[in-house]
Symmetry: C2
Subunit: 189 residues, 2 copies
């Protein structure tokens, strides 16, 4: 028999929710599908999470935790940092989709994720430090540079189908080089 394990069930539900929300967003997600994917009833979702929105929020927090662990910033080699972000998007396309749904759909009154804010502040500080050490040009504003790197890394995930036609034959290595080259150009002294 299956032995009961509430923590494992909770994790299963979060995993299933991540996949469902990444695919369909909040409005398009179906609690039934999430429950079925986690091998339980829809009712159990409410025992654990209370509501669809709360489940989305829990899934988001879990995703942030995972994402922040991978891809630590390497301020001495920002092109490679962007490349690592690119790798993350390629290997886990559902992450970018989920984050996009989050930006579009989540309740703006909800408190923003504290870990994400702290991590952003850390990255900006790391860039400032690299400037002080002379490995990055002084004229760049750290927060702006960081924002630009994040955006550039996602250039291929954000491409429209219409644009995709123009680059259909690109290999993954090609796409990665486009990202790292762009960041290299940005930080050229």
């Amino acid at each position: 028999m299956v032995t009961r394990d509430p923590d494992a069930k909770r994790r299963q539900l979060v995993q299933a929710a991540l996949a469902e929300f990444a695919a369909h967003g909040i409005a398009g997600a179906r609690i039934d599908r999430i429950a079925k994917a986690a091998n339980c009833s829809a009712g159990l979702v409410y025992t654990y999470f209370g509501s669809k929105d709360d489940l989305f929020s829990a899934a988001f927090d879990s995703l942030i935790e995972t994402v922040l662990e991978e891809a630590p910033i390497t301020p001495d080699d920002l092109p490679e940092y962007a490349g690592k972000l690119f790798d993350g998007y390629e290997d886990h396309p559902e992450v970018a989709r989920f984050l996009t749904w989050h930006r579009l759909e989540s309740d703006p009154d909800r408190a923003p994720n504290a870990a994400a804010i702290a991590s952003t502040a850390d990255k900006i500080a790391a860039i400032e430090d690299a400037q002080r050490r002379g490995v990055l040009p002084e004229h760049l504003v750290p927060a702006e540079l960081l924002g630009m790197i994040l955006q550039i890394s996602a250039v291929w995930t954000a491409a429209t189908p219409e644009f995709g036609e123009a680059v259909a034959q690109y290999t993954r290595a090609d796409r990665r080089r486009v990202v790292t080259d762009a960041v290299a150009a940005l930080i050229r002294p």
Copy 2:
């Protein structure tokens, strides 16, 4: 009394649909709200468009038509082109939202928008031509450069709430300069 004017009513419905879909996406949009905003009954939407998905598609086509007319590419001054795109996003934030919903939600089996594909090809050709005339460095691949410019222009619309905290005090002029400077750095010989 209100005189009947089917073309005007159709345009009203498309306008209302654009606003509703930009705000809530396909799954979150409500036909009732669209009909009310266009001063007609929900049934009329089906007389004109047949289904929610078809209405979304019609709204998308209309948006593309509008967007392509504004912001013609200026290959001799790409930083300013990016600035113009930035202006468009700032003045019409619903456009970026709508396009994002489109990327996430629209049926991949639907035929891509031919005008958008043609326009992309035109822009790439314009960049190639500028390279031939010597106003742009040869080492850049036109399609890649175009994709990068489009992505960079949208850097602020794609910023997460968490990142937004780091740049809350930025003025619009600041944000625009970040965009144009980045494109200038990209095309530096």
